[in-house]
């Protein structure tokens, strides 16, 4: 199949105006030895064949089953209306709003998004979105380095391991040192301010990768005492009920927005967000929408503070980011507006409550989930099997679970289990039963 409009007559008409004998002749500037390469690509399919092929691939996946996966992506309830509205073709097929007069749709929706992120995080200035939570953390660290002139970044081991990997990728070529704070009793101990004298920032994640609540207030205070910035990596859904970064004094809030309004998408695209204090506004990366007026005095929105960006400042830009994650951020904004404060709270409270129910059920079945520290909707379950194998075995029982609490945490074989408002009694029963079968425990022994 193809999407070309030009008939042979059209081609002839165009070639005539151009004064070229053929389409191929238009490529004469290409050195002859490069022209018309053999490409190892299959011939085209018609639409029916194409969709049959895609459906066949899709049939080799299974996204159903009782779901206890987390690790940064969760399948929370999303009302149907969200994707209907976000996927309107006017939003989907627009470019970056460089002509604001005809892009008020995207621009206003983004301004509203910024306001929502600001409300959630308790910080005043949100950018228009970033790629994902991990890169937002890395950009947050770079921002701190720029702002403080210091070349060390301190990060809690409670920050998602993949995020820390990305941090490493971004910082090491610049010679910025990364210091990792080990967890004690599942959370980050507040360091002596003195130990942070070189630090541009301290980065902690709330709830942390294992699911537990960090002492954000204490971490922020120690960080500020040392003259560093506190970067809070937060789950926006949890902010329906948890103290906001603004409340505990974070300078920068970053995170991944998937939980508040994107499908899981096998990990992408969702979007990253960054919200900062006022004093960082001319240092922070990424697009931002501002409010102004038009010549008639009407409220209107426009991309602003562009002097930070690559297309203006080139090698002096605050970041190289150009395309952000506009549409997925818009989708989350719509979802947040659909939920409202009450709906978002219900998701958060439901997740908290179901996680307790899960822990109780596991304990009743003789397991020993780590519930000694306060947790939000995820917690660690030590198991007698390598997590990746456990995950595969559970899948055979229609259960999706087994995000590993990696070796670095010194917990032995252990997985992080995650619950949401959508977790049901039946899901929990199914997990307990499957665990019993997989780990060869006689189920009867635990009831």
């Amino acid at each position: 199949m193809h999407y070309l409009p030009h008939t042979p007559e059209d081609v002839a008409r165009a070639l005539e105006l151009i004064g070229a004998p053929s389409i191929d002749a238009l490529f004469d500037d290409i050195p002859a030895q490069l022209r018309n390469p053999e490409m190892d690509v299959a011939p085209g399919l018609n639409e029916a064949e194409l969709m049959a092929h895609l459906r066949e691939l899709a049939a080799k996946n299974d996204a159903t089953g009782a779901d206890f996966l987390g690790g940064g992506v969760r399948r929370h309830f999303m009302p149907s209306v969200t994707s209907h509205l976000a996927m309107q073709s006017e939003f989907v097929t627009a470019y970056t709003p460089y002509q604001p007069e005809v892009a008020q749709g995207i621009l206003q929706a983004t301004f509203e998004y910024q306001t929502m992120m600001s409300e959630l995080t308790g910080l005043p200035v949100s950018n228009a979105s970033m790629y994902d939570g991990a890169t937002a953390v890395a950009e947050g660290a770079l921002l701190a380095v720029r702002q403080t002139g210091r070349e060390q970044v301190v990060v809690s081991r409670g920050v998602h391991p993949e995020t820390r990997e990305v941090l490493q990728t971004y910082l090491s070529p610049l010679g910025i040192e990364i210091v990792t704070l080990d967890l004690e009793e599942l959370t980050t101990p507040v360091p002596e301010a003195g130990s942070l004298a070189e630090a541009a920032c301290v980065i902690a994640q709330q709830p942390n990768y294992l699911g537990y609540l960090e002492p954000m207030q204490g971490l922020a205070s120690a960080t500020h005492e040392a003259g560093a910035l506190f970067v809070a990596a937060v789950d926006p859904l949890s902010l329906a009920v948890l103290a906001s970064p603004g409340e505990y004094g974070a300078d920068v809030a970053v995170g991944d927005g998937q939980t508040v309004g994107n499908p899981a998408n096998f990990g992408g695209p969702a979007f990253g967000f960054m919200v900062v204090k006022d004093n960082l506004v001319r240092q922070f990366p990424g697009r931002v929408v501002g409010q102004t007026t038009d010549v008639d005095g009407h409220r209107a929105f426009v991309l602003t503070l562009q002097a930070r960006e690559q297309h203006i400042r080139r090698s002096k830009a605050k970041s190289n980011i150009c395309s952000n994650h506009q549409l997925t951020a818009l989708m989350a904004a719509i979802n947040l507006a659909a939920l409202g404060p009450q709906g978002l709270r219900e998701l958060a409270v439901g997740s908290v409550q179901r996680a307790r129910q899960l822990a109780v059920a596991l304990e009743a079945a003789g397991y020993e989930p780590l519930t000694g520290a306060r947790y939000f909707n995820e917690f660690v379950l030590p198991v007698d099997m390598e997590p990746a194998r456990l995950r595969s075995e559970l899948a055979k029982h229609g259960v999706q679970a087994g995000v590993p609490a990696g070796d670095e945490y010194g917990l032995g074989h252990a997985v992080v289990l995650s619950a949401t408002e959508s977790t049901t009694d039946a899901h929990i029963a199914k997990l307990v039963k499957a665990l019993g079968a997989v780990l060869n425990r006689a189920e009867a022994a635990h009831v």
Binding site: D29, I30, N36, V92, V166, G268, P269, E346, Q353
Partner: protein, 496 residues
Amino acid sequence: MSDASGMPRDTADFPLIFERSRPGRRAAHPPRVADVDLAELLGAENLRSEPPKLPEVSELDLVRHYTQLAHRQMSIDANFYPLGSCTMKYNPKVNEDAAKLFQDLHPYQAPETAQGALELLYNLQRDLSGITGMDGFSLQPAAGAHAELAGVLMIRAYHESRGESEQRRIVLVPDAAHGTNPATAAMAGYDVKEVATGPNGEVDVEAFKAALSPAVAAVMLTNPNTLGLFERSILEIADAAHAVGAQLYYDGANLNAIMGRARPGDMGFDVVHLNLHKTFTTPHGGGGPGTGPVGVKAHLLPFLPAPVVAKRGEGEEAEFYLDTDMPLSIGRMRSFYGNFGNLVRAYTYIRGLGKEGLRDVSGHAVLAANYMRMRFKELGFTVPFDRVNMHEFVAQPPEGLRTLDIAKAQLDYGMHPATVYFPLVVKEAMMVEPTETESLETLDQYMDALAEILKRAEEDDTYLANAPYTTPVRRLDEVKAARQPVLRHTFEASGD
């Protein structure tokens, strides 16, 4: 478009979603929740003191808000949108259907239950290698700029592996290059040196050679370049760069011009990134999410961001998996495996068109762009580098007219202007990229509108300065926006 809100222009501002909000309203009805004592479970000190002021609206008010906002927005589906360097081609609907088939997959689910997704990624890595002439691909980067960073970091790691990291401090970039190129090089810790565009609109080969030295780590180019011209000396450039040990980086934003006609891998590029949101029809989404796979030649394969998708066994036995065993990898560029939803869309596009179809794309894209160039000249525009161009060209308005004004006037005709004031090396630049999916009639209508604009401008010398007239809002005070930034809505004291 302008009256989507329905209000006559002079009566009211279009409302914010917050202004439609009333306490206690709601659209969504999540699963029922049992009561819990949050302070007890989470610790009172961990709770927020007041709820975030998210909008409270009914489902209908929500729908109306975002439907009306959609009407206040130009888009490919409703408007011709010939933005140069952006490849605003048609985004097929079948891509959307395909992406939906996979949208519920969790990145951490057991690989046995995601074999189809992994197979798709594997196939796409292979197809992109075939299209570009590279030896392997990472699908991780989230956009072009992100891919550039991955690519330059691989080059850096490569030099490091050869003990040359101290010595190589410089990345060469043409002065006409996209801003992300120098910004990326800086972000990867390099010094940026710009190479001037020669009088023929191509890299000045002698100046380029003069700039080369063993201190050069990489050269970043796009070909065709930002002026829409094919760099005819590309093989000489590549040889010269390689001769001093520099690596050659290909910014693939312009691949739509030469797909199936020439491959960056064959030109001598060591690293290539593609903008799937340009050449491969994944939607721009009003600014993203993009997707920027990055491909390399064999000597750079060990440095690719981990993981890549690999295959064990063949045929019925084949098993696809994430290969994390990459000790020399530059590391992760982001969480998980890339913007998978878009990778599905691009794969759908490639499989639909196939080898021949992809080659036709570039042929027709270049045809349309040259047709437009001739029509622009007919109208009195200047084309500074006037020869057969590739998928786009740069023009300048007739003497005395400003590009910005013409662009604004075009908005009244329901057509999007070209990319304006880029590249920086051409004054009053209009960079026009019609793409292969626009019919000649559409191109002709665009030119008819431009002709009418020029005529009106001649008849009435206030016309252009005041355009546009019929858009949802008119010219904005951008200075005020930047001087007194208002970056979020402020609620009235009352709390709503």
